[in-house]
Amino acid sequence: MKVIETKNLNKVYSGVVDVHAVNNVDLVIEAGEFTAVVGPSGSGKTTLLNMVGGLDRATSGKIYVGGEDITQLSNNQLIDFRLRNIGFVFQSYNLIPVLTARENVEFVMLLQKRSKAERAARVKELMAAVGLEERMKNRPGQLSGGQQQRVAVARALASKPRFVLADEPTANLDSVSTATLLDIMAELNQKENTTFLFSTHDQRVIDRARRVITLEDGKIVSDERR
């Protein structure tokens, strides 16, 4: 089942010189895939993920998520779309520092107006999955970088999204934390059939991906399935 499909997707940044960040990209991501988008800096990885995630507008082309063309959505509809469909993991974790780990994971579900019981059960389940059951009451400042990124993964999955977009998720982590995080994401990918789409430079992530899409100058130059 197609989770994401792009057709002739383009993104041009206008300026003194126009920059074609994403150039006629046709891409299909199926449910349950564990895909890495790789390429040198400026190749368009982040721009592609931002457009697929509804954070940025395409200059032309179509993006279908679960069959719905998100390029036609208004800004407010896009916000709602992101809330219902996408989990985000950012390079710098971006947890809310004034909330505990539990509250950070619960936050998106509150925006979705899930019941208290449902929230509590899901938080417990995810915190166990990322191995941080004992750190639920800690605030981000009391956690290591790796632990914070695991909380961010739990937060991304809390809303049961169609897919998770992870932008350089391991860029700030040491090798042990990276390995742990990748183990957790791989396990959640298999256990919950969650689709993961990464942008990365990290060879350790690339090694674990089951599909690797390589971008150069905004174009897909290779698409390797393993």
């Binding site: 407010n76 992101r82 989990g87 909330l99």
Partner: protein, 420 residues
Amino acid sequence: MQLIRIAWRNIWRSRVRSLVVILAVALGLWAGVFMLAFSWGINSQRMQNIIETKISHVQVHAPEFRDEKEVGKFISETQSQQLLGDLSADERVKAVASRLVLTGMAQSPRAGLGVQINAIAPEAEAALTQLPERLIAGKYLEKDGRAMRILIGAKLMEKLGLTKEEGDSTIYGIRKSVVLKFQDTQGQTQGVKFKVQGVFKSQDSRFDASNVYVRMDDLAQYAGVGEGRHQIALLFNDPQTAEDSTYLQALRAEHADLEIENWKEIAPDLKLVDESFSVTVTIFMSVILLALLFGIVNTMMMAILERTRELGMLMAVGMNRARVFGMIMLETFFLTMVGAPIGLLAAYGSVSYFGNVGIDISAFAEGTAQFGVSSVVYTSLESGYYLQITLMVAVTALIAAIFPARRALRLNPAEAVRAI
């Protein structure tokens, strides 16, 4: 609830910065409220002093007397007796007295000065204006005491050259002679000699420099008004009665040929001070709050700048614009409203304290006395003004919140999440 929790916790993220803003709000409000209470204390004491010692709550005159001060325009004996009888029997009336009021000159061997001559019934006047309490030398007038005695203001005594300095003290010339000159109802100038029986000093040195009191019986015969009266003044038990239009209308209807005016009509300057105070509060507090507003906006703008990435994340994960706006509004509101009760409580405490013990401004007493202001000021502010100021602070908080909240909304989540 989660938004409130986040907003509340967010204001404590930069503890020192928030405390500085909270302290600024508290101090600003305290200073503003205290200054207003001080100002109102001066004004209300001045008003009370003028009402209780000079103009009373209501005055009754013959038509046009107050404008022209003509000795011949007096309330007839019949009318004044009836009115005095009616008012004395009225439970709402605390005290009532009648007077003859003449414009004339006081002449001593050394000087002659223009004065207002108040011819009074001593006992009634004492009940109405507590005149005996303001005596600083000599004795008060007695109903059956010696004739042709006069009470003179301390400042006037000085100007008439009826004082002498001995060391640090002033000796007033009790029993010295003063001649009062005035016109009678026939237009003839009368000169009547009085002996100083007492010297009074009020909180208004200008009043003391231009007023004398004599007994009605001593003056009436020379003025040619018989048992007529120029003025009947009264005080109510409840000051609000003076502003009760129904009461005043009834009184005026009953005595249609007399001019009956309350203190606000007699002294429009006092009315202006009284009625414009809420405008003063609004303007004064607006200036203070405007200054605070810039501080609050600046602080919140800095907070938004520092949290760009976090705000980008919130928008990325699906927090809609209304919620982002609401969260920043709440933070700004909390930041302001934490300081507000501290400032208002401190102000209430200090206003209450100095409302009891007073603030001694005797170092400036010479100047303040010219305006009828006491040398000890008792701060006071009606509770309604605290509510008005609280509402103004709340409005300021909301206005201050708009700018940072709008700034937050303008963030592009895709760029914000990667901001350094």
